[in-house]
């Protein structure tokens, strides 16, 4: 780990809390911009409420469109946090330290955003609570056979878990903040920090909690996107009804999620001038992690495509035919493969690229564009050519409202993370220090080899 500069605790505090204790110059401008976009999103929802979903581009038989695609996409992004924090924590990957918090926060906000979409997408969104086991005047419980009942339970479990994750990892920093602030903020942080003193016992408990949560949240992590994928896979819609969907969606989620984290790290590094904390070596490791992930994704992608044409059933073939040869799906397919795998992975093979922040930024964005398209490519064509009643085949074109909502969703997540960064450090201070303490090197002959402490 050549780039590591040994910093004093003071330097670390000062560097990592700059966003919280002071406000960067760009902050308010960005906030204003984002809020206007969000305003657009709100208008869109209001219009849908007033006139009905007619304002979207949906019709018969394409009843699901952009909003659902966007939902799947954001649930996907939300897999970054746990992937990084919990799995890497269990694997004791040293380089995770600066990445964890940001990833977890991204998880929380993207998941919350995702959860909005199925709700506003309902015909009677003001009745959303009917999917919860609450029956008072209806005298009928939700139907547990429906994937749309599995969905909310999985998502809200995951949301709770992820938030706890963030909070647990936040405790020590809250302590620091409490000591560094005055007035209402002091009281605020004080209340949140639950009397954190940072004595060894507290640290050990907090560490145990971390390990415990990591273990507990893993099944949820897998189940969430599996269940989302089953929304589609259990139905009879051609090209949806594929057994591979669950792992395919999960790995795709990790792919886009981790790329999302990369994007975010790039932005943070520049925005908060965290060059000492977010270093090329971290991007290097993320890049290396992404290669097998992307490859597995491609493997499942191929399985899905192969079995789409396998057996030559007209219902599947018509969809696959449309996906490959018809505009815009054909081009989309090429774009997905190029931007989702071929270009980035072949680039990540080179250490130089992995350590080049600018390139990593572009590549990670590229991956997520392709993943968004992939979800669209997966979901819509199946509905457009549903079954062999060719008489009913229809083309889906998104409405303005839907596009506005998609844009707004990106704004919402960014805004959420920004707001978070205003109150809490996006890089865990204590992990930074711990990492520095645990950092070791071994002398072998003339070389110094970086080493980890076997926990």
């Amino acid at each position: 780990m050549q780039e590591r500069r040994i910093l004093s605790e003071a330097q670390i505090n000062q560097g990592l809390l700059n966003g919280v204790l002071g406000t960067p110059s760009w902050f308010w401008k960005a906030a204003l911009l984002l809020m206007t976009v969000l305003g657009g999103g709100l208008t869109a929802i209001t219009v849908m409420l007033l006139f009905g979903l007619g304002v979207t581009g949906l019709g018969r038989p394409v009843f699901w469109g952009f909003m659902i695609v966007n939902f799947v996409f954001w649930v996907g992004i939300s897999h970054a946090g746990v992937m990084i924090s919990s799995i890497l924590r269990l694997c004791q990957a040293e380089w995770r330290r600066p990445v964890t918090r940001a990833a977890e926060v991204l998880t929380v906000f993207s998941l919350a955003t995702a959860a909005i979409f199925p709700l506003i997408h309902m015909g009677r969104m003001w009745r959303f609570y009917w999917v919860f086991p609450y029956d008072f005047d209806r005298m009928v419980w939700p139907d547990v056979r429906s994937p749309l009942i599995w969905d909310p339970s999985a998502i809200f479990t995951y949301l709770t878990g992820a938030s706890m994750f963030v909070y647990m990892a936040l405790l020590p920093d809250l302590g620091i903040l409490r000591d560094k602030t005055t007035g209402w903020r002091r009281r605020f942080y004080g209340a949140l920090s639950l009397g954190w003193r940072g004595n060894p016992r507290q640290f050990q408990l907090q560490f145990l909690l971390g390990v415990l949560l990591s273990g507990l949240i893993l099944p949820v992590f897998v189940s969430v996107h599996s269940i989302v994928s089953w929304d589609f896979a259990v139905s009879l819609v051609p090209a949806w009804h594929a057994t591979v969907f669950a792992p395919y969606f999960v790995i795709g989620a990790v792919h886009s999620g981790v790329s999302g984290v990369v994007t975010m790290m790039c932005i943070l590094r520049v925005a908060f001038k965290w060059h000492d904390f977010i270093r090329p070596e971290h991007f290097d490791s993320l890049g290396r992690l992404l290669i097998p992930v992307a490859t597995t994704w491609l493997y499942f992608f191929m399985l899905d495509v192969f079995f789409g044409i396998y057996g030559g059933e007209s219902r599947e073939l018509s969809v696959m035919n449309q996906r490959v040869f018809e505009f815009p799906w054909g081009l989309m397919l090429i774009a997905i493969l190029l931007m989702g795998y071929i270009i980035p992975v072949s680039a990540w093979l080179f250490r130089g690229v992995r350590r080049n922040i600018g390139l990593m930024f572009i590549l990670s964005i590229m991956v997520n564009i392709s993943m968004w398209m992939e979800r669209l490519w997966l979901i819509v064509p199946g509905l457009q050519n549903k079954e062999r009643l060719t008489f009913d085949w229809q083309i889906y074109t998104p409405g303005v409202v839907e596009i506005m909502l998609v844009v707004a969703s990106f704004a919402l997540v960014t805004f959420g993370v920004m707001l978070f960064s205003k109150f809490f450090p996006l890089i865990p201070v204590w992990e930074q220090k711990e990492g520095q303490v645990l950092h070791e090197e071994i002398q072998i002959g003339r070389r110094r080899v970086p080493a980890i402490i076997r926990e």
Binding site: D137, R138, M139, R388, W393
Partner: protein, 750 residues
């Protein structure tokens, strides 16, 4: 009878029970818990309903209907199972009658024009004023002994209403004309010539073994759609061996689509084909010998030398083998039935076509046979026998010119009822331009159609669901039948039945005019007819006294006598014409490369249904397009000319031009384009006006040579791009619906 508590709740206090359930104040029985939300709206409330029998007036067929009335509101129209014509069935247009009753744009009171003509500014007046004004105007004309400057235009009608109108017009001295865009003049002329009957014969399709139809769209609005459709069902799967239907027509119409064999033919040459078939029948000794004797004057096949299949092929474009196949098919599958419809009739040689076509029935010995052409007896009473057929377009042309140059006499007063000549007469006739020369135009329409919009005085008629009436259907069912129309709901607005108004006028105009019209209102007239039927003491309803007879008749929706054996005509085979007559067209084929094939829309018919949103939204059976007019073009032609679906093109004939979106129609010859009628109203209520295009506007004013009927097939057009495009509102999806080979949606067997 035992009714459980729950049923009691359901039947009576259901809504209350529902409310309680829905608020969940109590835990009801399990079934109700699970089903309450289903049962509350649909099932537990069963409204208390009355059913009234009446007659449908959405077209001329006169089907019997039952109207479901709940709390004084008509809720549903269904076919009257008792009525011999439709036997409980009904068509889309009949179902949509409710919207004519509850249409937001109905004219609700008598109106007098207050602004310039056509400005749509009217002032509300009372009925007394209205009647008084009309009476005085008529009186003036009568006093100036210019009663013949009064023209009364209605739809073609028969029976009592025709009787009253005729009498009134005769007494007063007014000219009485009937207008129908797709008139059957030529058809009826042929019936008269061949069968010696004023009335249309009864086609016994259901018992026929094979039917050869020349452009007779009998499954679509043509003469009596529901009756023919019902028979068609039996014809196909009625238990006997499945009938064979062949349709000869330039375009694959809905009827052709249901035929076992569709024979595309050059427009207007149907007669030639029919004669060629006759030729084959005769040469191959497949025809009834005596008929041949009579029809060829003993000359046999030589008489038809001009129509040898080889010759016919050149003209009709139908292959020789096909012609022979058709002839043999007819002969093999007996009883057979040959019918011809608007297609062949709507040409300059219409009468020739139709005559030739129906003449085949003589050769095949179908006349009067079960499964062939059967004849309808005259209605039981002279009043019901009265008839007011459509006035040929040529005559309308003469009227138009008379209006325009006030020669020989001007038209001072025009009374219009259920006719919309302004919409459906080709502009080249100059009817529209002439209107300014008419002093007063009076309309009895209940909707602001084009003609009514020009009216000075509007005396809105009842909806047919609010008024009395009668109809002895024509074409009939082979025996005497009289349908009775009665008010099913109270009139919603201050409207008055046209017949009542006429009778009021007659009353107001004094004894001369009133002679023969003793009644105060139409109901009275109807009851008189009722009395006569009662006096016959036969048929479906018999009763000790008139009152119960009358109620019985009204309840069953009419009176009919299946046993009636009145004298039926026994026509002698006609002589076949020896030289052929070919259709004439407006526009040279070099300048105007396409035949224009105008056909009646399945839902809007000739445009009278355009104001009803239900009929507007009814998908066209073939193209599934609704709310619009389109021009059907063969795919090859379309690709050559670079048209794709939705491109708006200009269809131009010598008479005028239209802007219409293209529908690429795989089942139409490359040299023919087709446009449905019905749309393109400039004024027809919010749902009907300013949508689509009106093909009548570009029709030439050519007429059928001998009868003067409108020849709506006699126009050629050319087509050019506008560059504009439009998404056709259609039910069909984004691709041309063709079933995958390995999985048929519509499975087919031999």
């Amino acid at each position: 009878m035992e009714v459980s508590r729950r049923d009691f709740i359901k039947i009576t206090g259901a809504s209350a029970a529902g409310a309680v359930l829905f608020n969940g104040c109590q835990v009801p029985e399990r079934e109700m818990v699970l089903e309450s939300p289903v049962r509350i709206p649909e099932d537990t409330i069963n409204s208390f309903e009355n059913w009234y029998a009446s007659v449908c007036r959405q077209c001329g067929a006169g089907c019997g209907i039952l109207v479901r009335v709940v709390e004084g509101r008509a809720k549903k129209i269904e076919g009257n199972p008792d009525h011999p014509l439709n036997q409980g069935k009904l068509c889309a247009r009949g179902e949509a009658g409710l919207q004519a009753l509850y249409h937001p744009d109905r004219i609700r009171t008598p109106l007098r024009r207050s602004g310039p003509r056509g400005s749509g500014q009217y002032q509300v007046i009372t009925w007394d004023e209205a009647i008084a004004e009309l009476v005085s105007r008529l009186d003036d004309q009568a006093k100036q002994s210019s009663a013949d400057t009064v023209v009364i235009a209605t739809e073609p009608t028969h029976g009592l209403s025709a009787h009253i109108l005729n009498t009134f017009a005769r007494n007063y001295g007014a000219t009485l004309m009937a207008h129908e865009p797709l008139e059957h003049t030529a058809l009826y002329a042929a019936f008269k010539n061949l069968f010696g009957q004023e009335r249309a014969p009864h086609f016994d399709i259901q018992r026929a073994a094979s039917v050869l139809s020349f452009g007779a769209n009998f499954l679509e609005p043509w003469l009596s759609q529901v009756n023919y459709s019902r028979q068609y069902g039996e014809f196909r799967q009625g238990g006997r061996s499945r009938g064979h239907l062949v349709q000869v027509e330039p375009r694959l119409s809905m009827t052709a689509a249901n035929a076992d064999d569709w024979v595309p033919i050059n427009p207007g040459t149907d007669g030639v084909l029919a004669m060629a078939i006759a030729h084959v029948l005769i040469t191959e000794r497949l025809a009834d010998a005596t008929a041949v004797q009579a029809m060829t004057g003993g000359a046999g096949a030589d008489a038809l030398a001009a129509f040898r299949p080889e010759e016919a092929e050149k003209i009709t474009g139908v292959k020789v083998d096909k012609i022979k196949e058709l002839a043999r098919g007819l002969a093999a599958k007996s009883p057979s039935l040959v019918i011809g419809g608007s297609g062949p009739a709507g040409h300059t040689n219409g009468l020739f076509n139709i005559t030739a076509i129906y003449a085949l029935n003589f050769l095949l010995g179908n006349i009067g046979k079960s499964g062939g052409v059967q004849f309808n007896p005259a209605p039981p009473t002279p009043e019901l026998a009265a008839n007011l057929p459509a006035t040929p377009m040529r005559t309308w042309g003469q009227l138009a010119s008379r209006i325009q140059n006030k020669q020989p006499k001007p038209v001072n007063l025009l009374l219009v009822h259920n006719a919309n000549p302004l919409y459906s007469l080709p502009p080249t006739l100059g009817f529209g331009n002439g209107l300014k020369n008419i002093a007063v135009i009076v309309s009895f329409s209940s909707f602001m159609d084009e003609t009514t919009a020009m009216a000075d005085l509007i005396l809105p008629d009842h909806s047919y669901l609010e008024s009395w009436g009668e109809d002895s259907p024509d074409p009939g069912v082979g025996y005497q039948a009289v349908g009775l129309q009665q008010p099913t709901v109270e009139p919603s607005y201050s409207t008055r039945s046209f017949m009542d108004v006429i009778l009021a006028l007659a009353k107001g105009l004094g004894e001369k005019t009133r002679s023969g019209l003793p009644w105060d209102d139409y109901k009275g007239a109807l009851e008189d007819i009722g009395k006569k039927l009662f006096a016959l003491n036969r048929g479906s309803v018999r009763a000790p006294d008139f009152a119960s007879f009358w109620h019985g008749a009204l309840q069953r929706g009419g009176w009919w006598d299946t046993q009636s054996s009145p004298t039926l005509p026994n026509p002698r085979p006609p002589a076949l014409s020896r030289q052929m007559s070919l259709p004439g067209f407006e526009g040279s084929d070099t300048e105007y490369p396409f035949y224009l094939h105008v056909y009646a829309s399945n839902s809007l018919y000739d445009g009278r249904g355009a104001h009803l949103p239900w009929l507007q939204m009814t998908p066209d059976p073939m193209t599934t397009v609704s709310w619009q007019t389109w021009v059907e073009i063969n795919p090859k032609t379309a690709s050559q000319m670079g048209f794709k679906e939705g491109d708006i093109v200009i269809v131009e004939s010598p008479a005028g031009k239209l802007e219409v979106p293209v529908y690429v129609y795989p089942a139409i010859p490359p040299n023919v384009v087709a446009i449905p009628t019905g749309q393109g109203h400039s004024s027809m209520g919010r749902y009907g006006e300013r949508r689509g295009a009106n093909p009548f506007l570009i029709l030439s004013s050519k007429t059928e040579e001998s009868t003067g009927a409108m020849a709506w097939g006699a126009t050629r057009v050319r087509i050019s791009k506008t560059g504009k495009s439009y998404r056709l509102p259609k039910l069909e999806g984004s691709v041309l619906a063709v079933e995958p080979d390995d999985y048929k949606v519509v499975e087919i067997t031999r």
